[in-house]
């Protein structure tokens, strides 16, 4: 695609269409608000293109089917929301352990439990990182604008193939259900869309077990048990150690390649706003307003949430007098910022909304003014 088409799509439609663009040919899921439109659209699109759409009996089975679809050679994805994401955690761990590429979309809603199904929240970022048991790293992307949702969905498939791992696309209900004008990116504006054997040649070192799928004429063995490089179960301490270090380091050591943020007016900023997802849009408006009042404030909007951009944030915190973290949870990002800063004297302030309404520009602006008065 070399010419930009102008469209009017909601976030969930964008994800479905971008997944198709990225070569997704296998979807298994179980409908859950506010993600259901992704399944609805792919149930039409995938069969048209010769792909597979499965509505499974529950969220757990859906994640199992995604792992199976990917092991069979498909580019597989599922979409869910907080409660379903909880149920997927065991099979998500299986995908991590077996190094099975797949994309899991979590359209976050208010929780815990059934919570507020139709209201936005950002309370699943820690579940994305630590929801499944055992040592591992994960890649989670948090786009904020329509064109970025498209781009990051395509990138999610690319990264999952490169690093042989599930990639979580974490969006919130505001993004999922806002229908908006935007231009579809051209091929050159997107990450590569390639078949699996392309990755097999370039990135074989990212797979601890042999980098093969079923039905390729190879004898392969896939297990959730800790395994050796042949793919067979082992308890030899040195090999177990090496395999887990592999799972963690194949992503952590490539942090710089995976990291993506938006920086806005940070060069001379005394106050930095650090946020992600839809609160980034409110924050940008607030930065513009505060700048008109002569307040030196800038914005860092995180697009690759995991692995966490800790070095970038540490450098940023060292260069400003105060940090404001708007988020639709009670302070999960703020805690990570505090850890990344590695300082006890950071002037760190939250704007936290969990009532099911988005953070507004005025919420952020009021906090900027308050923090500025105290500088």
């Amino acid at each position: 695609m070399n010419v930009r088409d102008r469209v009017f799509w909601a976030g969930n439609e964008i994800i479905a269409e971008a997944a198709v663009r990225a070569g997704c040919n296998f979807y298994a899921g179980y409908p859950i608000t506010p993600s259901s439109e992704i399944a609805a659209l792919l149930s039409l699109r995938l069969p048209q293109l010769g792909g597979v759409f499965l509505q499974m009996e529950d969220e757990i089975a859906a994640m199992g089917a995604v792992v199976g679809g990917s092991l069979g050679g498909s580019k597989a994805m599922t979409a869910t929301s907080g409660p379903g994401f909880s149920l997927k955690q065991e099979n998500l761990g299986y995908a991590i352990m077996t190094e099975t590429p797949c994309v899991v979309v979590d359209v976050q809603r208010g929780g815990p439990s059934t919570g507020t199904p139709t209201a936005p929240a950002q309370g699943d970022i820690m579940q994305a990182r630590w929801g499944t048991h055992g040592d591992h790293t994960i890649i989670a992307l948090t786009p904020g604008y329509p064109v970025e949702v498209y781009r990051e969905t395509v990138r999610a498939f690319h990264l999952s193939e490169v690093y042989r791992t599930p990639v979580i696309l974490l969006i919130d209900e505001v993004i999922a259900h806002t229908t908006e004008s935007f231009e579809i990116p051209t091929d050159s504006e997107l990450d590569p869309v390639q078949p699996r054997n392309w990755y097999q040649e370039k990135y074989a070192e990212n797979s601890f077990r042999p980098f093969f799928d079923f039905y390729q004429g190879k004898h392969i063995h896939v297990t959730g048990l800790t395994h050796n490089k042949a793919g067979f179960a082992t308890t030899v301490p040195e090999i177990v150690q090496e395999s887990i270090e592999h799972l963690v380091n194949k992503i952590l050591l490539k942090q710089k390649d995976i990291e993506r943020n938006e920086s806005y007016m940070l060069d001379d900023a005394e106050i930095a706003i650090i946020t992600f997802g839809s609160p980034g849009r409110a924050s940008k408006v607030a930065v513009d307003e505060a700048r008109k009042e002569g307040i030196k404030v800038g914005l860092m909007r995180i697009i690759t949430f995991w692995p966490f951009p800790k070095d970038t944030i540490r450098a940023l915190v060292d260069n400003v007098k105060a940090v404001i973290v708007p988020e639709m949870n009670m302070g999960m990002l703020r805690m990570e910022v505090e850890r990344a800063a590695m300082r006890r004297d950071v002037s760190l302030h939250g704007v936290n909304r969990v009532g099911g309404v988005p953070i507004e520009p005025k919420d952020v602006l009021e906090k900027i003014r308050e923090v500025h008065r105290g500088l």
């Binding site: 009017f8 505001v174 806002t178 908006e180 004008s181 940008k284 988005p358």
Partner: protein, 190 residues
């Protein structure tokens, strides 16, 4: 120029559809448009609203902060969504359904939207198109012809004629309606 529009009511009235069509009409005119619905876990009967934002410039915050036009078809929705109103916001309510509009400086157009929909098109399902007719007549955001074109392109098969009838009913219904100061409307209904 930035325009902020909100249709509110209860699920099933077609308010979200009205917002979708306004935003789509603006998108098709080459403007930047977005529509963002809010609804409850109930399929029907829960308070709903749709925010529509239209601008020549790129859109920032995707919800409304300073509303130009607000149409409300349910008391419960009024309570939740009559926010971000300016002094000069154009407000429309169905006086049979929204009786208490509280205090405020706005002028309110009382138009019995559900009743006139039933009279003209027989089914209340066409309320959304009636609302669009009222919206187009009272604002200069979407020209009448563009709105009609969007309805023709997007109405489900077999319903175009009735939707256009409903749109014209809404357009005509504004004729002769004198807006009432919000404070006085509350007193009348007290």
């Amino acid at each position: 120029m930035r325009s902020e529009i909100r249709f509110a009511g209860v699920g099933g009235q077609g308010n979200i559809l009205a917002g979708e069509w306004v935003a789509l009409a603006a998108h098709n005119m080459g403007l930047n448009a977005l529509q963002s619905p809010t609804y409850t876990a109930q399929v029907r009967g829960g308070p709903t609203t749709v925010d529509v934002l239209i601008d020549k410039e790129p859109l920032g915050y995707p919800r409304l902060t300073s509303i130009d036009f607000f149409l409300c078809l349910a008391q419960g929705a009024w309570k939740l969504f009559a926010t971000q109103l300016r002094d000069d916001t154009v407000v429309v309510v169905d006086p049979n359904l929204v009786k208490n509009v509280g205090q405020g400086p706005q002028m309110v157009y009382p138009i019995p939207i559900i009743q006139i929909t039933k009279q003209a098109v027989e089914k209340p399902v066409f309320t959304s198109a009636v609302s669009l007719g009222i919206f187009c007549r009272l604002t200069n955001v979407i020209p009448r012809d563009n709105m009609i074109h969007t309805i023709e392109q997007n109405a489900p098969a077999g319903t175009v004629e009735k939707n256009l009838l409903a749109f014209n009913t809404g357009w005509e219904s504004v004729e002769g309606v004198i807006p009432v100061p919000r404070n006085e409307l509350s007193v009348q209904n007290a």
